[in-house]
């Protein structure tokens, strides 16, 4: 494989990377004004109107080299302040945005002042965040160390819209549908359709504005770029009138869809899904008609790839710690089974890989769906891209996922057509509000409370049930029984909080635009937050099975089976964070096998509790009437989650990180190599990870330097498929590279690395996270 990037793309890439990144209050200003001018209207109407106004008024821009245009700010990679969901943190943190340890943004003095004087006073007490705090803040806080309730201060993302529908109808067609429905609908549905019409009008205006702007400035552009810009302008104009007809129009249309989704929700992870499938007819038609060459198509796609990097997501300091590197989660899934269950891939799939190979940027999050019949060609191309070390593509396993989704209640045709949103979260295509990462349940904290009479080891607060402690449980069964009760207790509390959060989303953040591209909202006349989608899932994450398995295995073997560590003494050791108990800590670390080494009884201990937790989810229904399920992906949350947990029986010191990934072993403890890791991970039932699972591995580049090595890597991946593991991703980096990048960030500006479920610029990560990545296991014998 060789680089095929054109000069156009090279220029655009350099422009993008050298642009300063600001926090922007422009849209907040518009939203606030619309709300103030329309106090008497309902929330859905105010939301729709303020989106329409934003589409009409937000400053826009273009570059003369661009083949795809559109953004929600004039500058690229701006952080958008979005008041309706929550802005108290911006009030507190505005000044520190340029200097905080993770995800920095420049700020303008006058913006801070305007925000403080005109915007924040209006919203104070009214945002969704405030509503949630008012209704359930104390309950949420009370369980916070065990259960982190998410989605409290931003709209729902992690959604794969019905892109095929959008391409087929466009804003005009969707508006027409809403108008038709409006004629015959119930009174209760009326407002919904009216809102859809408003935002689709705005969408058309937004596209038209790009036409106007380009045409106004086109005479200043010289040479070949003038011609391509004219095409771009005409594409925009055409899309206001009719659905796309050419490949170029289709890609432009697709990008507008994602800009507008972000403009409406300012949420993380709206994902294009199976782009190589639904864009292929446009591509094929143009190629066959000789309208474009493969090189033209690559240019267009690479422009889209750059666009995916131009919308970032402004998070508060704490959240940036959990999700470092502005992951925005434009996840594209290529390959995989088609609706008839046959493996499918095409030239576009390969072009997507070429884009990643050429650009090596953090977005989109490129995923390859594998199955037993995946072609050698696609796999070898994908492996070549992996060998570049950007952490992409990641691999998903049809053999693991499709059946698990069907078991969850997903229809077979939707399960076959699954896509990925954000990092690794599984979704159906275009008909699902998956509510990924609704909460993170720290099983290790629950275990800590079980061992220490319900008291936090770090603060000594009573936050869980006092069911006894290591000093009172006589058998391992006693301990496990208490653990079960502790888990049940926190699940119940968590679910009460979940209802509060979901209800607040309905009340504060209805999303007409999004709803129009999620089946069956238009049909039902129901907003997606109210359960308009065909599937209404909620995903809870289990944190972190690797440490849990190791802790339970250590206690079972050393305390209860072999009796070489006395239980009461172990409790004292944990309370002392092993100070003065170094021999015990050393034994815990060395004298019992760990998860990730293909030792069945250890692996089963972790899986058993994950399965228990998964079963309990069946006792509950979410506020939209759908089921709860589970995931095992922490993104970078293993660091802050670890900061909540005292010393643990796996020998881990208090406050230190938990295992990374979600299904991965604790770093440094997987001593038997990558095949043993896969065997251990394969013991986790696939029903545990229907919301997503994440397995991190790191290989050195040497492995990929020979054809022989690449073929062996394919063998490894095919075994991964046969082992029915849902996900795997690879970092290919030298430790020295990372150490050097930490010291000389300016020399490694474009070095990207897999943080967890996504890729970020390494030099933009906080030092602590950099260190953590450097420390991760390397298979350096390869």
């Amino acid at each position: 494989m060789e680089k095929l990037m054109s000069q156009r793309i090279q220029i655009l890439k350099e422009k993008m990377l050298s642009s300063p990144r600001y926090a922007s209050i422009e849209q907040a200003r518009i939203i606030t004004r619309v709300y103030q001018e329309n106090e008497s209207l309902s929330v859905p109407k105010k939301r729709a109107l303020s989106l329409k106004k934003a589409m009409e008024e937000l400053e826009i821009g273009f570059e003369k080299e661009e083949l795809i245009v559109g953004n929600r700010t004039k500058g690229v990679r701006y952080g958008v302040v979005f008041p309706e969901s929550g802005c108290s943190w911006i009030d507190k943190e505005f000044e520190t945005l340029p200097t905080r340890p993770q995800d920095q943004f420049l700020v303008k003095e006058e913006d801070i002042q305007e925000f403080r004087e005109k915007i924040y006073p209006y919203w104070k007490g009214k945002t969704m965040e405030d509503v949630i705090k008012h209704r359930g803040g104390e309950d949420i806080q009370a369980i916070a160390k065990v259960v982190k309730i998410n989605q409290k201060d931003h709209a729902q993302g992690h959604i794969c819209p019905d892109t095929a529908l959008w391409l087929k109808l466009g804003p005009q067609g969707l508006m027409k549908q809403a108008q038709e429905k409006l004629k015959t609908c119930d009174e209760s549905q009326k407002e919904f359709y009216e809102c859809v019409i408003l935002v689709m009008q705005g969408a058309c205006t937004f596209m038209k504005r790009y036409y106007d702007m380009i045409m106004e400035n086109i005479h200043d552009v010289e040479g070949s770029y003038q011609q391509s810009l004219k095409t771009v302008a005409n594409n925009c104009l055409n899309l206001t009138k009719r659905p796309p007809e050419t490949f170029h129009e289709a890609v432009q249309s697709l990008w507008f869809l994602f800009v507008l989704l972000h403009m409406e929700s300012n949420a993380s992870s709206f994902s294009p899904g199976r782009m190589d499938q639904y864009l292929y007819p446009y591509y094929q038609k143009d190629i066959e008609a000789g309208k474009i060459s493969m090189a033209d198509a690559l240019d267009i796609l690479e422009c889209l790839w750059l666009k995916f990097n131009q919308i970032v997501y402004l998070r508060n300091q704490n959240s940036a710690k959990y999700f470092a590197g502005f992951p925005i989660g434009f996840n594209i899934a290529i390959g995989g089974l088609d609706e008839n269950g046959n493996d499918t891939y095409n030239e576009l799939s390969l072009l997507c890989l070429q884009c990643q190979y050429d650009l090596g940027l953090p977005q989109p999050n490129l995923s390859v769906r594998l199955n037993r019949h995946s072609s050698h060609e696609l796999m070898q191309k994908a492996i070549e891209v992996v060998s570049k070390g950007s952490g992409m593509p990641q691999f998903f396993n049809d053999e693991a996922i499709i059946h698990a989704l069907i078991d969850l209640g997903i229809e077979k045709k939707d399960a076959l057509n699954y896509a990925i949103v954000g990092c690794v979260e599984l979704t159906t295509h275009g008909n699902n509000l998956g509510w990924s990462d609704a909460a993170m349940f720290n099983l290790n904290k629950a275990l800590e409370l079980t061992l220490n009479h319900g008291k936090c080891l770090l603060t000594h607060e009573q936050i869980g049930l006092d069911l006894g402690g290591l000093d009172t449980y006589e058998t391992f069964d006693d301990l496990e029984n208490a653990f079960q009760k502790q888990i049940d207790y926190f699940i119940e509390k968590m679910m009460q909080c979940e209802i509060i959060v979901e209800k607040a989303h309905q009340d504060c953040l209805p999303t007409a635009f999004l709803s129009s591209v999620i089946d069956d909202c238009l049909e039902k006349g129901l907003d997606v937050t109210k359960g308009g989608a065909k599937y209404n899932l909620s995903g809870i994450q289990m944190i972190q099975i690797a440490n849990l398995a190791d802790s339970l295995a250590a206690m079972k073997k050393l305390v209860y089976d072999d009796g070489v560590i006395e239980a009461g003494k172990l409790l004292k050791a944990l309370q002392a964070d092993f100070q003065g108990y170094e021999i015990i800590q050393t034994m815990l670390l060395n004298k019992v096998p760990k998860y990730g080494n293909d030792v069945e009884w250890v692996d089963r201990l972790g899986a058993k509790w994950a399965e228990y937790f998964r079963e309990r989810m069946k006792d509950y229904t979410n506020y939209r009437g759908g089921p709860y399920h589970t995931g095992m992906y922490t993104v970078s949350a293993h660091v802050p989650m670890g900061e909540n947990v005292g010393a643990s029986p796996d020998g881990r010191n208090a406050l230190t990180p938990l295992a990374d990934g979600g299904m991965s072993p604790v770093y440094g403890r997987d001593l038997k190599g990558p095949t043993a890791v896969l065997k251990s991970v394969s013991r986790l039932n696939n029903s545990l990870t229907t919301n997503g699972g994440l397995l991190n591995m790191k290989f050195l580049p040497e492995f990929f330097q020979t054809k022989n090595g690449m073929n062996k890597f394919e063998n490894f991946l095919r075994a991964f498929v046969d082992l029915k593991i849902p996900h795997i991703q690879f970092n290919v980096v030298r430790r020295e590279d990372l150490q050097d990048a930490k010291i000389h960030p300016q020399l490694h500006k474009s070095l990207t690395i897999r943080v967890a479920g996504y890729t970020a610029y390494f030099v933009e990560l906080a030092h602590k996270l950099q260190d953590e990545i450097i420390e991760r296991t390397t298979y350096d014998n390869i």
Binding site: E582, I583, I584, T586, M587, L589, N590, K591, D598, K672, G673, P674, T675, A676, K679, F703, T706, G709, N711, K712, N715, F716, R718, A719, D722, L723, Y779, I782
Partner: protein
């Protein structure tokens, strides 16, 4: 079913350099030869011994506390084991909290070892499988034949890395169950072989000739590790190339670029490392000179990385 046991000093899964595909390599303990550059010195002795890893030690002195009379002494902040001690060292291995004290090898019966081999079965595609290495795997020959038969029954691809410094009878027994055979021929000259490898090369040559003339020759790759000034000499490589090509001009031959990584292993075994550490791996250009030399002496099928 056999009840015999083998002493194994390492099992390496995801071995990708010891044959086709992804493999599990089993390192049998014990070797009749003494190459001064040996990369696996811990595999030379046929005895199971306790070893001490200084890096792991937390200096808790648990070993000293629990040692039996005459087992060890604790000096310079570390244990020294008594080599003449007759009993086992289970107590020390078990008590050491950091596993700084370990046995250098483990006993496996055929079932246990098959279980290990089958663990990675799902990865053995495209002729991946198991590689028996060492030490000299044929030194525990009866056991090896048993395990080879079991692998053969289970359709697991088998490879061996051997010196053939054993009886012809054993080799004949093993051959039908082997899919790939790597044979080391290090030094052609008898006196030099005695000096650097520690045994007669005549036996090895005889066995190589036997196999290369048999129906099994296609499975064979003869290998010479390139040790500066010892094996990597013009004289030696010419002699070996001529010897091999005269037996069978189609023979597969490979030159291994020596990697001086073994020296760190010598800290915990009783042998001295015989190689000057200043040697680096040969460059591509230097390797090309060696390749040309073998071609000029009749080798046609040279395996290159």
């Amino acid at each position: 079913m056999t009840t015999s046991k083998a002493l194994v000093f390492d099992i390496k899964r995801f071995a990708v350099h010891d044959g086709d595909g992804i493999r599990t390599t089993i390192f049998f303990k014990g070797c009749p030869l003494r190459c001064i550059w040996c990369q696996n010195p811990e595999g030379i002795s046929t005895l199971r011994k306790p070893i001490y890893f200084q890096n792991n030690c937390i200096h808790c002195r648990c070993c000293e506390k629990y040692a039996k009379e005459g087992q060890m002494i604790y000096q310079n902040d570390r244990p020294y084991f008594n080599k003449d001690y007759q009993g086992d060292f289970d107590n020390l291995v078990n008590i050491c909290p950091s596993s700084a004290i370990r046995y250098d090898s483990q006993y496996y019966d055929v079932d246990m070892l098959m279980k290990e081999i089958e663990s990675d079965r799902v990865f053995y595609r495209d002729s991946g499988g198991v590689t028996f290495s060492g030490g000299e795997p044929l030194m525990q020959g009866e056991f090896l034949i048993d395990i080879l038969k079991r692998c053969h029954q289970q359709h697991i691809h088998t490879a061996i890395e051997t010196t053939l410094y054993t009886s012809l009878e054993l080799i004949q027994k093993a051959l039908p169950y082997l899919d790939q055979i790597y044979i080391d021929l290090k030094i052609y000259d008898e006196a030099l072989h005695q000096k650097y490898v520690g045994g007669s090369v005549a036996l090895i040559k005889k066995h190589i000739e036997y196999i290369l003339k048999s129906e099994h020759w296609k499975k064979v790759i003869i290998r010479t590790p390139l040790i500066p000034q010892i094996t990597a000499t013009i004289q030696n490589l010419q002699s070996i190339s001529q010897f091999l090509s005269h037996i069978n001009p189609e023979v597969y031959y490979e030159l291994l670029n020596y990697n001086p990584l073994a020296s760190s292993k010598y800290e915990y075994v009783d042998f001295d490392y015989g190689i000057d550490l200043k040697y680096k791996k040969y460059t591509d250009d230097e390797m090309e000179v060696f390749y040309q030399m073998t071609y000029q002496n009749g080798i046609k099928n040279l395996i290159k990385e």
